[in-house]
Amino acid sequence: MSDEVILRVDGLVKRYGDITAVRGVTFAVQAQEIFGILGPNGAGKTTTLECIETLRTVDEGTVLVAGIDVRRSPQQVKRVIGVQLQSSSFFDKLTLAELLALFGELYGRRVDPLALLDEVELRDRAKAQVAHLSGGQKQRFSIAAALVNDPKVIFLDEPTTGLDPQARRHLWGVIKRIRAEGKTIVITTHYMDEAEELCDRVAIMDTGKIIALAPPHELIQTLVDGGFRREKAERLASLEDVFLALTGHTLRDE
């Protein structure tokens, strides 16, 4: 992580008619950080991301991605970000390699599809179509597609929702590796263990506002310092540990 701020959101407000989905959200993401946005359904996580990603217009506030103002130059912002959308798909009838080559062209780039597929460990599926991929493979492919323009910031909206524990852990590996290659990642998730494992800092959102923003261990420490104790004593293993011990860490979707 460096001190350079790559994404700055200041007083972001987004309304849908009478409903204010995002009410004055402010945060800054540093280069090569994995930044988590957590919160219950309807907290405004996805709307916040969509405003940054140029998919929705910003009603108030400023959003700067790599110094570019989203409201003034959305087209320039599109060029420096990589996006994995929640519940979006890709064209049928094209192979993964063809899709990546096509998406590269949308940015005016000639990409090496196999190198990108290597990045997410899908080289052997280069000639498959998206419809024939497993859930985990689809998400990994989505990430590969988000990398075609060598973006500065990558947005992942609930990338592990619906995946089995093995696929989830595998995807964590992919995300960490991409960060190690110098990318900045903004991720939303419902899994707290995932946020704790991956994120350098997390913002917790509720009803359109950020109610806490710090590294996960600091948030935990603050809670404990306030006198919080779990009702049940900490066990040495969780059910997920049991599951993984029984079924192994090997991916099942290949």
Binding site: F90, F91, K93, E98, E105, L106
Partner: protein, 356 residues
């Protein structure tokens, strides 16, 4: 430009990797032509009789009696007009009542017909006409003598139903590809978030739509070529027009109907919403725009309304060029009509375009 080209190539690949698409766009129209082509509607119905009356009031009595015969579908006209219709195949038989004819004194009358091309309707028509003449003799005063009908062979272009049908089916396929192909395909891309994913890349709607239109137009040209080719090779199509003009009209019609398709896709969120709208637009045109049957027998006001349907302009334009050899000037009304529809449809489509 390179982006549009790459998107076009990609949509082309996607189109041809869908087996059902090939079936519906290339084989289905052909099947319609072949099936309808084998059904001989002309064999059973009425006989189209043209009458050229150069005798004035003297011929009126005979014409009135002929008109009572249900077998005939009678049209009166000048010699030039009726023989032209006969040549086109719009008449089965043309009866000529010469100047100076009187029922009392005529020894013979002539009827023109293409005995080779339409043996049944010419012969049947001649027989019935002779019978009408003979009944006049028996009903009339004694002393009238029999007027004999002489059938004079007339070489026509021997146009078949297939010549009428094939341009109509091409027009129909253009409409279906535009409205159903685009609207359903596009709504599905929208619903599944595929367009949203494209929206976060730097391309604009015009890049994507241009590529779609380019792909559809190439498919259309292939489709027209296959249908005309099969028509000429296997179905004795009598094609005499300018092939370039035919494709020009086809492309113009396709742009109009693609506009319809994109407009429908713009206002619909799911395939369930597209289907009824698409049917409301296409079914009246399929029935009334002269794709399968000539619009001449429609009631006047229906004919007036249907004459401005885009499918009517398209079918009439294609047909005039294909079988009448119409020139650019001759199909100008159709070209203008299609242009107006194309501009309207595209303007609406442009306003209604949504990525999601």
């Amino acid at each position: 430009m390179r982006v549009i080209w790459k998107l076009t190539v990609a949509s082309f690949k996607m189109f041809f990797r869908q087996r059902e698409a090939i079936l519906w766009t290339l084989l289905f129209p052909l099947l319609v032509v072949i099936l309808f082509g084998f059904v001989r509607f002309s064999g059973v119905g009425s006989i189209a009789l043209g009458i050229v009356n150069d005798a004035g009031p003297a011929g009126a009595g005979l014409i009135a009696r002929i008109r009572t015969v249900r077998t005939f579908d009678v049209t009166e006209g000048t010699r030039e007009a009726e023989t032209a219709e006969l040549a086109k195949g719009e008449r089965d038989l043309v009866l000529v009542i010469p100047a100076g004819y009187t029922a009392a004194a005529a020894d013979s009358l002539t009827a023109l017909g293409d005995v080779e091309a339409k043996p049944q309707s010419t012969q049947l028509g001649s027989l019935v006409l002779q019978r009408v003449l003979d009944e006049g003799v028996f009903a009339g005063a004694p002393g009238l003598h029999r007027t004999l009908l002489a059938t004079v062979p007339f070489k026509t272009r021997n146009l078949n139903y297939i010549d009428f049908l094939l341009p109509g089916v091409i027009a129909m396929s253009i409409m279906q590809a535009g409205i159903f192909g685009v609207a359903f395909g596009f709504v599905s891309l929208k619903k599944r978030g595929i367009l949203r994913r494209l929206w976060v890349t730097p391309i604009g709607p015009s890049d994507f739509v241009s590529a779609q239109v380019a792909m559809r137009l190439v498919v259309l040209v292939m489709q027209m070529t296959i249908m005309i080719g099969v028509g000429l090779l296997f179905l004795h199509l009598h094609f005499i027009g300018s092939i370039a003009l035919l494709y020009f009209i086809g492309v113009l019609g396709a742009i109009a109907f693609l506009g319809f398709g994109f407009a429908l896709a713009g206002i619909s969120r799911s395939e369930d919403q597209v289907a009824p709208l698409a049917n409301i637009i296409t079914l009246p045109m399929l029935a009334l725009s002269g794709v399968f049957f000539s619009r001449t027998n429609l009631p006047g006001f229906v004919r007036a309304i249907t004459s401005i349907f885009p499918l009517t302009y398209l079918a009439d334009g294609l047909r005039s060029v294909a079988i009448d050899g119409a020139t650019f000037g001759a199909v100008l009304p159709q070209l203008l009509g299609l242009t107006v529809w194309a501009v309207l449809a595209c303007a609406v489509a442009f306003r209604l375009f949504r990525w999601e």
